[in-house]
Subunit: 402 residues, 4 copies
């Protein structure tokens, strides 16, 4: 293997990636560039992050604001498929990984780096998502995954490692839960959740009000939808990220968007997580409500199939593959015309579409009324049923004639 | 067409089928046998129904209790597929039709009748479900669908028709909502719901408490699951129908199981309905929770595909077809081992699995702990990822080398 | 129903549509416009057709050359999905119907006609395909299907009907086989084929040499493929229709492209047909051969799923639906990059790809060779397998520990 | 890792596994048991194999005849799904691996061995298939894959290795093609095939006559099929393996069953192979022909989906998984009733079903004849089409009214 001179690291400012910087320099004798993607993880996470990276030994720190692009080009395409991993999970972490990895790999190519590095553990999905994107975008670059290489096995070991090198770090020794946040969601794993027979406690939830503590008064919100995307909230036009942010606030207040699941990781084991996706849950409900009006029976079914497939592709880090692009093309085609308005009620953990309309609606009182003579004739039903069940009748007659 | 001598009618005791009895006798000059299936529509519906049928002119009335069979042999097989029509609807009416039609057709064959009759309208799904079952079970029998034949077009016309014949009927002139109930659910259509921009009002809901009026105190219930079926509630073993009845009460109290959707009918138009499935919603959540522990990634995905297919087959009245039987066989195979316990929280319209365990769980703290050395080695991940993304890497290298 | 003034008829010049012209005029008291689509059915079919239409009573006859458009915009999009109806049928009749019906409906709208008419029988698929297109393109126009209305039940009756009206007709009384031809294929039904236990005889085949009589010498042909379309034959660039015509000649000579199947019609019954698709069979083999080089495992599988779905949609006359467009969008996305050269051997009824290459090939001797160190490491396989079979191992350990 | 005392090796008698025996003993200091599965690879392969194993250092050699079980319990279940990997490959090697690995693992458990060993290379599929089965059946046993461990990199190295130890070996230095054979097929890889632009030469084919050299006279064979399995050849009842053997002879004579494909391996790269499956190709054609008569449209389509899924599961070594069992259960359900007779013509590389019949046929001249009045009414078609295309009509009317 050839010598590595410059590596670009996906840097979060947390304990792990802080330790990775000196570790890379010592073990690979190379320059380390920190790359920070702002995907809406929160201002607290980003504050002073450049200085922190430099203090840890990075030669430079690049921060890129990817929030609008992530919502517009990664989240909405996925939402038009209706993807819910294993029927529940809104794919919050999964959708953020490809955009981060792509920006990181492109920076590395631009800077002439020879390697890419991430701080994902060796038992999780994220390593696959990062490296799947790297393979597609920068196939020549070496990938370094310290958690699969080093002998540091605990927070204590990491803190000691930093202390020995006199690198400042505010991380505490005790950290019960493992978390990941972006504009779309926050996830929580570990601690009490490790036993599936334990209920989540209030420490498992970060963004959202406990439904049992949420306002006793329900709240309505009206969303404008155009071609499968929410474009306005209560009549105010907004960018994709602004819509999400606005709905995160509303949803969180009412305890909307909590799920607690055991899921199959790509790497063959199961894990349990609590996810909070307040705004996303509202958006999903709104899109599905407009689809109810617009999609015919076979299209609706295919959209559900696309969602099932996309849920695995996105979860499995397959974003930058011809298959994923093909599925997104199909979903985008179906989303044309998914346009209308939805009123949703938020109440103690639930979001429910209570009013919906669309100029493309295949449901219409008018048709239902004049339908009898102009569009639909009761007598047509007989012919339909006869042909629809003809194979059954022939089969049954066959049996009787045996 | 040959003369019809005896017809077996799916009789409900309502206005429509009450008028059908004399209409059949007058128009087909035939004997009419009333058939009543007890699928849990409620005691009020069944009280005095035999006398009513005779008073309307039926020569006999057969009542069959199908409740346990319906839950055990129609509902649970469907549930193991996870079928939710268009992502939401728990198929309450759809699952009851095949068992009713089958019992009716078998009675007709036993009695030597020449025809079968139902009171379904010509714009709905139920006519297809009844006649699809008839075609498979009694392909030689003639089917009479009065709503596609007669000129009676309103409740008023039906009431007049009965009054002229001095047939007693307690039905009122005004009936805003159209309903169907069985042990699993009650549906409501019509009235204010005909405009999708209208919210449902409280008349649209029959069984369940309004979530906003439901108890402020949440309630826990523990279900025992064996091979995809709930066999006990809070530690008490129960028959399938008893489980459902018990959970209907609990769910209804907490406002669980309401949905309000616009759906694609099989006959090409859309309709809007409010459905209440309190117990069923709890059972579905419980089965899905145990599956989270037991099914591996690919099995889970296939179960979701089976559910998608089954939802359409059941909705479309395809129960008695080789395809439906094949899909149920696949789902039954996967359901073996879906065994465990689930604790669910009922609260203001929501049901949430908060604790779950299974002796077949693929999740296990123990594995997660000793996993490192015995079952899972961090370093395996690198090999996995390299091969998993090999095609992406080759494709990208190809592009760069062009 | 309102009075019909002008109807546009899909006119073929055959016995049925010749009789339909006077029948329409007599029964609907309307002007009849003949519309002839040239989809490659052959010059003999088109010769003198305008005069024939006028002689039958049409007020005008419009002939439109749709050959290139059909191959480019209907056949190739379908081919990129790989659609083979029930595993065998290359959809020759099915793909021609939407383009004919669309051109016919557009002509009717342009001419201000109030109705559309076709000569399809009431037991076949084509009526559904025509009327499905009409519904999507000219939903307001009335549809007339004489075969479902009139009492003419035999060729003799039709010939008498024309003779009584002194309309010249060259059709003979005896016509054993029913046929349909276009640039892509010719189909044969009826006669000896009506018993599935009969072998087809030589009258069942029209275009192709009997493989047992085909040249003893095999022949090679080289096709250039670009993004899922054949663009050259033996190095000569050609239009889509020219490619097809050239390969029809070559294939027919060698007896390539015969199939004899029993298929499920959309209308619930089965039928048996012999189909000849000489050029099409060669093109399919060529496209599949390039795909073998270019598509990765998951993409290939999805392409097969798309083909399965598309085969039913196209067969069922669903071309002008959002679902079909969505599936074609997905297939088109995958077809980008399906580019390369294929040498095919034609020999006594078979076509076999014997050489293939592509600049986008994921197969490469070079990778296979230097692969060991640069792209693929044998040791990666262990990690891959361990994770790939981890769920199996955990499940089995579970069982043993019970 | 704990000490290994006894290892069971899947032994073929070839160069690789001959070298593995001493290598295991030297490197693991353990007893080596040779296990030979007779899956129809040929008598030449099996002759003297026990003596050879002992001469190489094995302490014992177990030979198990798995031919009938393989055809009955592995091949036919797969065939009922219609599985063809990537549209072409009849899965010959894939179907043999699970039964071999299962018998080997069960022997190891019986003998109290601590490890399992196979001779598969580190770039192929077979290692995954073996180890996938091991994980499911003997999850506690250690797996040794010498090709991923040792430094022997060529035939020369292996021959030297054996010579140094004075172990007799008849293998030659030059071996151009890599082959695998069992009762179902023989595969050939390597040599001239490594460049996809090369045609296969006659050395690439082992069992089958070159179609261009095959008899000029076609031959007919009649197969009896019952519930998806061939039970007789030309009227003679035979066991599953006997049927296969008989048809292998007939097919090989006529050059039937050759394919030459580039396929996606599970491990992310592509490979090219020539496969010969003479009898299997005939059986597949026969089963599909009976299905044409028996399966309705939706069942046929689902059978194709099952085949697509099964092709990947079987290829990928997923036999012993709940998913594979579920899919086989679905296919088995559909295969009930796939019963009838088929006459097939063998001619110069092709097999074609030319006659077929079934008592369960949904095709029937009788229905086609009396069908008009009793089972099918032309006028039913109108109703069918109106409802079938209702959503299209409503959508189009919507557009026009905008």
């Amino acid at each position: 293997m050839s010598k590595i001179n410059k590596v670009v690291l996906a840097y979060s400012g947390g304990l792990d990636t802080s330790a990775i910087i000196p570790w890379l320099k010592e073990n690979y004798d190379c320059e380390v560039i920190a790359f920070v993607a702002d995907v809406g993880q929160g201002e607290a996470e980003l504050e002073g992050i450049e200085a922190k990276a430099i203090a840890s030994g990075a030669s430079a720190c690049y921060i890129e604001d990817l929030k609008e692009e992530m919502v517009a080009d990664y989240i909405y395409p996925t939402l038009t498929t209706g993807a819910l991993y294993e029927g529940k999970y809104l794919l919050g972490t999964s959708m953020a990984r490809p955009i981060i990895a792509k920006a990181q790999a492109e920076l590395a190519l631009k800077l002439g780096a020879d390697a890419l590095c991430h701080g994902c553990t060796g038992k999780g999905n994220d390593q696959v998502r990062f490296e799947g994107a790297f393979a597609a975008i920068a196939p020549n670059l070496k990938v370094i995954a310290p958690w699969r290489e080093w002998n540091l096995r605990s927070r204590e070991a990491l803190l000691d490692y930093l202390a020995e090198r006199q690198i400042p770090c505010t991380a505490s020794l005790e950290k019960i839960y493992s978390r990941d946040a972006n504009a779309w969601h926050i996830s929580t794993e570990g601690g009490v959740l490790e036993n599936t027979w334990n209920q989540p406690n209030e420490l498992c939830w970060v963004w959202t009000t406990d439904p049992e503590q949420a306002p006793d008064q329900s709240e309505l919100v009206t969303l404008g939808v155009e071609n499968g995307r929410v474009i306005s909230v209560d009549g105010v036009a907004m960018s994709p990220y602004q819509v999400l942010k606005t709905l995160n606030d509303k949803g969180a207040k009412h305890g909307v968007g909590r799920i607690d699941i055991v899921e199959n990781r790509l790497v063959g084991m199961k894990s349990r997580g609590c996810y909070e996706t307040p705004g996303g849950t509202i958006i999903m409900e709104a899109l599905r409500a407009v689809e109810q009006l617009v999609l015919d029976k076979e299209s609706f079914m295919f959209r559900e199939e696309l969602g099932l497939k996309a849920s695995h592709l996105v979860y499995d880090g397959r974003w930058f593959t011809p298959l994923c692009q093909s599925i997104l093309a199909a979903a985008d085609s179906l989303a044309q015309g998914v346009t209308g308005d939805v009123v949703l009620k938020l109440y103690k953990g639930q979001v429910t579409a209570v009013q919906k309309r669309s100029t493309n609606s295949l449901y219409s009182e008018e048709f239902a009324t004049f339908g009898e003579d102009e569009v639909y004739d009761h007598s047509h039903a007989e012919g339909f049923i006869r042909l629809y069940s003809l194979a059954s009748r022939i089969r049954a007659l066959n049996e009787k004639n045996k």
